[in-house]
Symmetry: D2
Subunit: 291 residues, 4 copies
């Protein structure tokens, strides 16, 4: 992946296709793109089961004049979709997805997202930072990102979520970057497969609050972090990425939190990057990640 200039992305398209697994689908899609003049630069596929499962294909291609010719390509894909029972999505890499980032008091994950957006490693725009605490306003402001302070109590939770939805407007992805509130099922339903959380443990170990204390009590030798899509069931959504770090018997709960911060920021930033590059496909309770 060469220089982070927009040139590089101007004519770059991403196509993700899913359909019942049948011989021939790759040939047909390859032909369609070849006929359109596209050059496939990356291609990854997965079959949930070679016998009668679901086939998933992700293609990156360069097509000169993509912005103009996109409509034509979509037409052809639409025809194919009918014939093959196929769902698909087509994105242009040149467009930066808009993110809303929800935080509470700790800034390490937010800082990492801001750094990666700034460096171009994460090709996205942070449209808003929302928090139930005012602490991180200076961090957001220093990067020119609007900050919204929305205190949440059990009584005001519904209203606060409604207001948050209103404030963030039209975003492509919501990221819970150590946001210490459980979002409602209704909120989840607004962002199907577009709401990512970082949980500070190696799920499914230590579901719920205070995982580092629980990890310390259990005497684990590795601590972890898990980025996952949020579903109404707490900490049970499809996992996108996990990583661990080694600790030893000297580590206090506070040490675990400190070490864990570096794992969390890495795991969430990786998951968000894969998502915005359209590399993640949810399949039941699991994810396909075309890394």
């Amino acid at each position: 992946m060469t220089p982070q200039t927009s040139d590089r992305f101007t004519d770059l398209g991403r196509l993700v296709v899913r359909c019942p697994d049948r011989p021939g689908i790759v040939a047909v899609l390859s032909r369609l793109l070849a006929d359109a003049g596209a050059n496939i630069v990356e291609s990854q596929q997965h079959s949930s089961d070679p016998e009668g499962g679901t086939f998933t294909l992700r293609l990156e291609f360069v097509l000169h004049g993509l912005a103009v010719r996109r409509h034509q390509l979509e037409g052809a894909l639409g025809l194919l979709a009918g014939q093959w029972g196929m769902t698909w999505r087509l994105t242009e890499a040149v467009h930066k997805p808009r993110l809303a980032v929800f935080v509470s008091r700790t800034d390490h994950v937010l800082q990492e997202l801001l750094y990666r957006v700034g460096s171009g490693d994460l090709r996205a725009e942070i449209a808003a930072v929302v928090s139930n605490h005012p602490d991180l306003e200076p961090v957001a402001r220093a990067h020119g990102v609007p900050f919204h302070h929305l205190p949440v109590t059990p009584e005001t939770k519904d209203a606060a979520e409604a207001k948050a939805l209103d404030l963030i407007g039209d975003v492509d992805l919501v990221v819970l970057a150590r946001y210490m509130q459980v979002v409602s099922a209704d909120f989840c339903s607004r962002f199907p497969e577009r709401l990512i959380n970082i949980h500070h443990s190696f799920l499914p170990a230590f579901v719920g609050a205070n995982p580092y204390q629980a990890a310390h009590d259990r005497g684990v030798k590795l601590i972890g972090a898990t980025a996952h899509y949020v579903t109404p069931e707490l900490d049970a959504g499809p996992i996108i990425e996990q990583e661990v770090a080694r600790i030893d018997h000297r580590a206090t709960v506070e040490d675990m939190r400190r070490v864990g911060r570096y794992v969390e920021r890495q795991v969430l930033a990786q998951a968000v990057t894969w998502h915005v590059e359209d590399r993640v496909v949810v399949e039941g309770h699991r994810t396909i990640v075309f890394a």
Copy 2:
């Protein structure tokens, strides 16, 4: 750690001491060893809590004529123990601990233990292999290790355990090397902090049977293995070592089992090695590992 000759171990002693944390204990013990003519070559310590916790110290030292002078050293330590409320254990590295290894049908962990004993990386003697299946008899026999086939059914479990105890005789450590039977609380009580199991998941995730299937269902991105001391509560004993390996969406349950085998053998062999080198101290539900 230089060549695996017995010379290297002849006069090497290991002392593990625990006592209430008070200033001065290190000075007193260092003085005792210095006065005895011992040269400390490795020293590690841990305080569960600097204010009023438990202090643990592990020393490796070279004392010429250790075998002869051990009695004298023990006398001095006994006196100190009374004064400082101290428990201690003293071992001579030259003596190889005797291990009994329990297996079922899969050989990968047993093979690893046999290899490491043969190479000298694990300084121990495998006194017996016990199995509820006959499959691995040739593996044990090829290495000159007695093999005992003891089938287990719910009805015969007590008798089988009794017979196993009889057959293995006086061993220093029992290793459950993918032994697919839950051992009884009574059996556990015979080997306090001397019974190590390898569980094929990153505990506490996926306690119980079939963890790879459970891991697959949950869609985790890392699979793990955990070596722990066995206590009557299933998969809840103090953890000695854990490790993970990365998998992706392509991994079937069978792939996870295959990848997991290499993690399991590594984790168990590491835990057993630390144990036989007297590097592991149990403290409540946790272990101190002076690696």
Copy 3:
């Protein structure tokens, strides 16, 4: 990858194709396989340069009656090869490649290869073990593998290599599993891209003999191992796989050797497995690994 029965492999084909990068090649190949009734189960591709580079494609497919219909498939591929300037190789997974393993005195890598062949994780046949020392004959014999002792001196090297070639006969891959002799350029030329060595350092650091001593002198904090194809230039062939392990200031050269053994066996076994599954393609001084 499901159970290690031959069933699973009977109709499994692997096709590796290389050609100048032009739009349409994937479509044409996919169509060819679809027309033949093959179901593609794995597909990976790489372009050395999207503009005018070389395109490499690896496909795994299931084609019922592959053994019988292979000839027909080869005919079609031959036609295509002419049109597209394409080179290709087609293998049937059911056939186990024949390996010759060269060793000297240390057995850890040989043991690992034997274990993995035995477990089915490495789907190959070890046809012969050749050594310049007699030490490992029992290891080979215990696994029913012919062992050839061929002492090598500077004077007898040519003759010894000639004799080795004669003894090993027709093999698909030669593996230097800690063989402490430099093989001749002539020997290399007999096995182009079919001769794999394990070097006990993270190449290109510490080329040549005694890398652990050199690593110790330099005070590195990680030690490594490198599996690579052998070319006449010492330790300079295309790298297939590398891995490292952490050490600290306490590690002696002997400790590094001990830790290194576990890295070496892992790295070489991985490289050999990828090679026999036809996942490695040499491109200049580098390898493409479709892992």
Copy 4:
């Protein structure tokens, strides 16, 4: 390591001692600290060679009223030093070391240092940022750190270094955080064992400029970074920390740079943290790191 309040550090002392290895030194030092009323909370030691080598000991201790009683402790240590041929240094954790950070155009390592100082994970003060380019002035300013732009050409190098020395004044550590100039031997000599560089490769592989290009050409499968003390010989000073990240055949040189940035920032920040906590001791060409 509990909350990052100054309380925690007020009475915390660090003592690093080196002397010829003789039985009894630990006893004497432990006694000295115990008599002074200090409670040792961390103790690590290393012998370069149990027979006639150099012994290194690092102690962390709590001594109420350390600031006041330090002088007395130093007196006692001074006496001991004469008797045992011992060198020592004593530091109070409460004092934050002053750092000067040299950069060029890339900000990732500087950002990481600033973040860690801000979070308290790196207990130090960044007294100045010096650069041969003006680009990172806003980054330094945003964190309230003085920034000095000192252009360097071959002709002005001596003058620029002299000016830099003048500007940074009295600092405890100089950090070259991707500073793309080779510093002079004279400059090195001003900061013996107090000048740390991050080299963007796994040293000693790829010494010199453009290591990612060299790594790409060689086709390595892991890229690395090395933090080391700077000596006049280029990239040859004692290594403090190294780490690697996995890449595959798809990685361009630019990808390697991008992946490498995250390794570099981690490795340098770790090395600097260990240094300021007085955990690193140089021994010849190597370092002892009491991590």
